[in-house]
């Protein structure tokens, strides 16, 4: 039986890990994305490199996601 308070805390922690990193990634991509679109308006050949630049901050949310998955599926059953 999962301890309700501890389990709730773990679930909250997982939510914060995904939510906060999501916001952070979005803030980063907002700046790069608008700049990349600007360059693409000048030169459509920039699409590939523009995409690469734009998605760099995405690693942040991937880290958050991995943390959340570990919390939910590794830590949670031990509580």
């Amino acid at each position: 039986m999962v301890d309700p308070i501890g389990g709730g805390m773990v679930a909250l922690a997982a939510a914060i890990a995904v939510g906060a990193t999501g916001i952070a990634a979005a803030l980063g991509e907002q700046v790069i994305g608008s700049a990349a679109i600007g360059v693409m308006a000048e030169d459509e050949g920039f699409f590939g490199r523009g995409l690469v630049m734009t998605v760099i901050p995405e690693s942040i949310i991937i880290f958050g996601l991995v943390v959340a998955l570990i919390l939910l599926f590794v830590t949670m059953p031990t509580i």
Partner: protein, 637 residues
Amino acid sequence: MFEPQAMTKVIIAGSKDYMGISIDVLYNHNALHIADFADEDEDFKIGKPYARATKLSERTVSLRSIASYLSITGKEDIQNRYPEGAITDEIDEKTEHLNFEVTQVTDKISGIDSRIKDINDKKRLLDPLKNFDLPLELYGGYKSLAVFVGTLKGSPAISDITNDYELETVPYGRGHAIALFVPKEFEDDVLKRLQDQSYSALSLPEMGGIPKDILADLEAQLAELEAEKAESQKGLNALRKTYIDYILASDEYLSIATQKAEAPLRFATTKNAFITEGWIPTKNLERVQHDVDSATDGHVMVATDASEAVSAEKVPIALENPMPTEPFEVLTKAFSLPKYNEIDPTTFIALFYPFLFGLMLGDIGYGAVIIGIGFLVQRRLKSKGIRDLAKILVYAGVVSIVFGFIYNEFFGVELFGKSGLIPSFYAYPTIPRFENVLTLLLVTLVIGILMLTLGYVLGFVNEYRRHGLKHAVFAKVSWILMLWGGVLVIIEILPPLTSGTAISVSSALLAGLAVAVVGFVFLIMGEGIIGIAELPTLLSNVLSYSRLLSIGISSAGIALAVNQLSYALFFSKGGVFVILGVLMLIVGHAVNTTLGILDSGLQSLRLHYVEFFTKFYSGGGTKYRPFGYVRKYTEEQ
């Protein structure tokens, strides 16, 4: 397949007398990528275009203006190709005749247009007066009376200036239309008063009669003109139908003739000779050499130049992939064309892109829908780029169905097994996604490690070709060692870390550490201390592949939510609600399919561009543009 088409650098030189015929032969082969000559000096000058170029351009301009009058865009298909000889014989006469016919009609149309505009102007001016019964000629021409005709806000209040006035007023728009007659001596005062009420005067057209009657008359004229215009437009359409083949064909003929006539601008010439450099695909070389030689009796020579073949910077790139993987070239091109001595990644994209896409989407229903969309787009749209993307979508859909069977998902519903839609059929073990999150997470990371390793191996090949073995080992083998050493270490220490027990020093752990350290030393030797800055990317690159799981789960989660909500809200109530439930299912799954295509498509692409390509691919090649033309509307003779 793994490399761009082999090119041979050629130098073509010969007597100027044979330049024209050489241009014809080269143009017909459509194989030579000309390196434009730019550095003039005392001996070599940029060639002069043939005199006919000017006339050809003039013809092109007049033909295109006709084409634009007839709204011919140059993308239409025609039934039969036009023989080129039929064009050259009569192009002047026919274009002139066509020009005459078309301008006759278009002049008429523009005449009608200007009359329509004129009438509309008059209508606009008379509109405020439509409820006045006074004939138009009585609104002016008095010696002792001033007349104000126009619109203003509110109604005029001038009784304190004079009571000697005549006023007609009707509500119009937000204010009133007025016709005000006052003695001349009060004109200035009244005008001032009216202007306070935003008076705007109407400059009446010089016509006679009751405004209402005039308006009706104008309306009738307008209808007549519109009919006349429609008639002329019909004539124009008839002309378009008759001449579209001819116009498209002669436009093509003129483009070809102009390109040929202007070709010397790209050559270097001396007083008596011409010379040009360029690249020809090696497979076409012999035929071009032979044909130029026989057409010019050996007066023009196509010589190969091996000296520069090694410097791959400027060699034009033509990708060469077999039919099944050819559509994926569009993804390579969207990133950048490879350099000449670089591996063409198209084959690898063809292998991995649909695989990663299907792994994420993984649903029999969505896969089938996507295949349908792919075929539909291929049938309906003509653009090569879009059709290629549609073909890729079909591949991706097939793999999605395969993974759909593995995950046992059909539009988010369990398909086989006891609690599935088809309970009687249970023939193979499935891996439902929601119950195997950790296993699948591991699978995605393994896929990541394998793809990165392949990336480094390909990078090793590229580096070896460009900079030799030592550099390749330091730059790429270092990373492979660190990656696999790190993997060994993590396998050993992760279980104790998560369960909180002590880490035991095993031989596998030591081996992993040793391998990683060797890799690290290679890296420092190759790139210097700055290489450390790139170390964290290794971890983030591998973890990045966990998106394969998360995107998939969110897509499956949305499908599940749509199904459960439609059941709880509508289907469980029965009756009319069933229709609403079906509607919700259709809309919900349509939205989720769109999301699935965009998300899986972009994320799979990203894993290629960001994680995979950065290990071996830099690109930046120049596109191969052969000197020639692919005829669409004309036939050579």
